[in-house]
Symmetry: C3
């Protein structure tokens, strides 16, 4: 399936990209290297020297440029060859492919379409993660399943009771009320439960008394290509929601290939809560890693193996109410891709 091109994709957490080491990453089937120049600005170049296709990611950062490991050509963040030890001047066509990059909301965003359309205003608003106001736990996983299965999985709140029976779910989740909604090109999936008994570990991590019934909500928003924000909260049953703490967590996916994807997830808390919030954000993010790696990923990867090169749309699957939001998201994404290719 074709990828959406005229959109910003997450490429890395800010801390993954540095001015001392090179990060190799494949996005939308294209291999690239990410680094920071002398000014700390993040850049991305195709991971092949235009001279002999040596991977620039095997080179090193010299004076804010990437030096090719094979013959020593150096390229700046725009991909221009700025140093040629093999000759008097740079060869005229010594230009490495570069991608527009913007750093915002603790993430490195990349534009993999026509660069003239790369308007930073199109980056989704994740300002609840901004460094001046929030602590952010940052998690990353590589997933051997396509990003559309990940979108479905996050929007589908009905699987929690089964796949996450002893970690994130409880019998109460299936007794919840489920709604989905669309606002423009944003899809919402919402689940609310009353008097649910959560697992002890989940209760503690959310700052609630284990074993006590709670009213809990999970609201997830999706926007293209695969940026999801989950607002989760709970209060002792009967109390107004406003008395509970709602922590947003991001679930951002970028295709590596059609059948594999990058997954950045993170939990944020406001700095206004004090220093304790930093540890809580990190702990909550770490807590999520267990169900993700032991429950979600094995399932998604098994689905992907069963699907092979087909997509779920190809096989006309059985439809359940929990698929409503994911189904809307698929339709919007398919339409956006089709529009782009007109």
């Amino acid at each position: 399936m074709s990828y959406l091109r005229h959109i910003w994709y997450p490429a890395a957490w800010d801390g993954e990209v540095s001015d001392t080491g090179l990060l190799r990453r494949t996005l939308l089937d294209e291999s690239m290297v990410l680094f920071r120049g002398k000014d700390g600005v993040a850049y991305s170049l195709a991971d092949r020297c235009p001279h002999r296709y040596a991977p620039l990611s095997m080179g090193q950062i010299v004076d804010g440029t990437i030096q090719c490991p094979y013959h020593g050509l150096r390229f700046d963040g725009a991909g221009q060859c700025v140093h040629n030890p093999q000759g008097e001047k740079s060869p005229p066509n010594a230009q490495a492919q570069s991608y527009p990059i913007v750093e915002r909301h603790r993430l490195i965003w990349i534009w993999m379409g026509d660069a003239s359309h790369a308007d930073p205003e199109l980056i989704p608003d994740l300002s609840f993660q901004d460094a001046d106001t929030a602590y952010v736990g940052q998690g990353y996983l590589k997933v051997n399943a396509g990003y559309q299965l990940e979108i479905d999985n996050i929007l589908d709140l009905s699987h929690i009771q089964f796949l996450h029976a002893t970690t994130l779910g409880s019998g109460g989740v299936s007794a919840g009320t489920y709604t989905s909604a669309q606002e423009g090109n944003i899809v919402w999936s919402r689940r609310e439960t009353v008097a649910e008994i959560m697992s002890d570990e989940l209760s503690l991590i959310m700052g609630l008394v284990p074993g006590e019934p709670v009213d809990r909500w999970l609201h997830v928003s999706w926007q293209a290509p695969a940026n999801l924000v989950l607002y989760a909260g709970a209060v002792p049953t009967g109390l107004p929601k406003g008395e509970g703490r709602e922590g947003p967590s991001v679930h951002l996916f970028t295709p590596e290939t059609n059948a594999t994807s990058h997954y950045w997830y993170g939990f944020s808390l406001p700095k206004a809560m004090g220093e304790i919030a930093e540890k809580m954000a990190i702990d909550q993010t770490k807590f999520l890693e267990v169900p993700f790696t032991t429950e979600d990923l094995p399932m998604l990867e098994a689905q992907q193996r069963n699907l092979g090169s087909r997509s779920l749309d190809d096989i006309k699957p059985v439809w359940l109410p929990g698929d409503a939001a994911g189904s809307r998201a698929r339709q919007i994404l398919a339409r956006m891709i089709a529009d782009e290719q007109k």
Copy 2:
């Protein structure tokens, strides 16, 4: 190459399928899950939930049904969704693909063609293995070679002297007389030797005095698709065969893919022999595992690698007398497959 469809294939030994765990297996390129219902009856469903293609084999048996690990749909042995925790009733098209299964002669048989033709009378008679009258040693191997190479190998008794020089063979085998015959669609391959000195280990396992010359016979029958029975016996040289013990062993193959196969082998002895026969059947089966895994499988897998996607028929190999029975079997099988596709 196409598979024969209107025939029963071995899918498992009886003990491989249980009412507590799920057995995932790929047969004829199709992945399935085998289990037993509350009544102990064996069933097989395609290993993908019709909802999101989650592998049912990752689920669990609940109340005699398979519960999908992702969203909790439950399917009975016929593939019918009998429980939907996500809604009031089962979705109309929530039907997992099921395969006709019959349990007979200690084996689970599967029909992978049009179910309306699945007549249990077509299952080959291996009643010498029946639980009420026989002890059966049960062996299983996965083979990275196509099942037709396995058929050739078992019917070809001339390789024993070379491939199994120190285990099953001896110089005497090559001095034996060899005949092949066809009875309807059954092919026989027979080898008889006189005054052969077998290996000590083989002599002991067959209940004979090591080092003493014996008259030995190996009679193999084949019927489609790949069910072979080897009747092996030996008597001190000169004695009538009737004074010896003839143990039948089955060699049953089902394609996993065109280039890999399942191999069930087993040695049977009548319960009338007393309890000692149980240990002997198991020992003899274990004894076979060594030459199979260290001599036959490496050879067959190397042949398969050399052949790649070609079959032996494509390459017009040199023909030796020992190939007569295998050649007949190939012809019968090819004709049966061609007839089925008319």
Copy 3:
């Protein structure tokens, strides 16, 4: 890309082929087995018995012939079946494919085109390696990159400063003078430096005083398909070259497949130097293994991964002066292949 056929390819060092064991090797996509007959003469047969495609390399040498491991057919060095234990005589078409082989200059050469053109006079003159006059250190590596990248790499002397910065190179190399030349179908690449400071280890291995400036030369010749000889030497700066020692080293490549290759490298010294020369030739060859395996191979294999099934010619790379000789070699090779296919 097609291979040149009417030419001799290195297939092995002389010591790799014996009369007691079988060497399996794939050259130009064809799997073969190399061995020596009773007379010590080297032979090569396709690695598949014409009977059932069993790999002959799994067999054994019996009486100067290869005995197939499966059914005991024996083949002589010409591929003729000379023994058939399964019948009175050899089947008429029991002929294994054989390749013309010549042993010369400590190497086993193979001809993989029309055998009627296999003239040993076409073998390149590497007589400086002959056993009666020279000691030869013999190295072998398997490379997961195509042989054309290897040709480029050896002819390109400009990469030494970067890829081999701390092993074979030094800043002085980039200050050297570089020339390339063509003599008939032989391509020369030459680099000369003045007052270069080499690494201590390299100085010692070349018999020079560490830390002292030297005048150094690297002259490389290439001839098709991928036979390169590197003449390296150095003298204390200012002295005439004639006072230094020039050791020739061979760098011989044969494609295993289009994307993988065999690499035989060796350093030779004349026996006239005395017994110390044997140790020196072996040490120098061992010394080369480190930069080859830790610097060249990772780079070439990364280039190959970046290129995939494309060749460098397809991607129209940036051209630097150091590519001149490799570029000429590619053109000659392409023309020779094209001529052959007319």
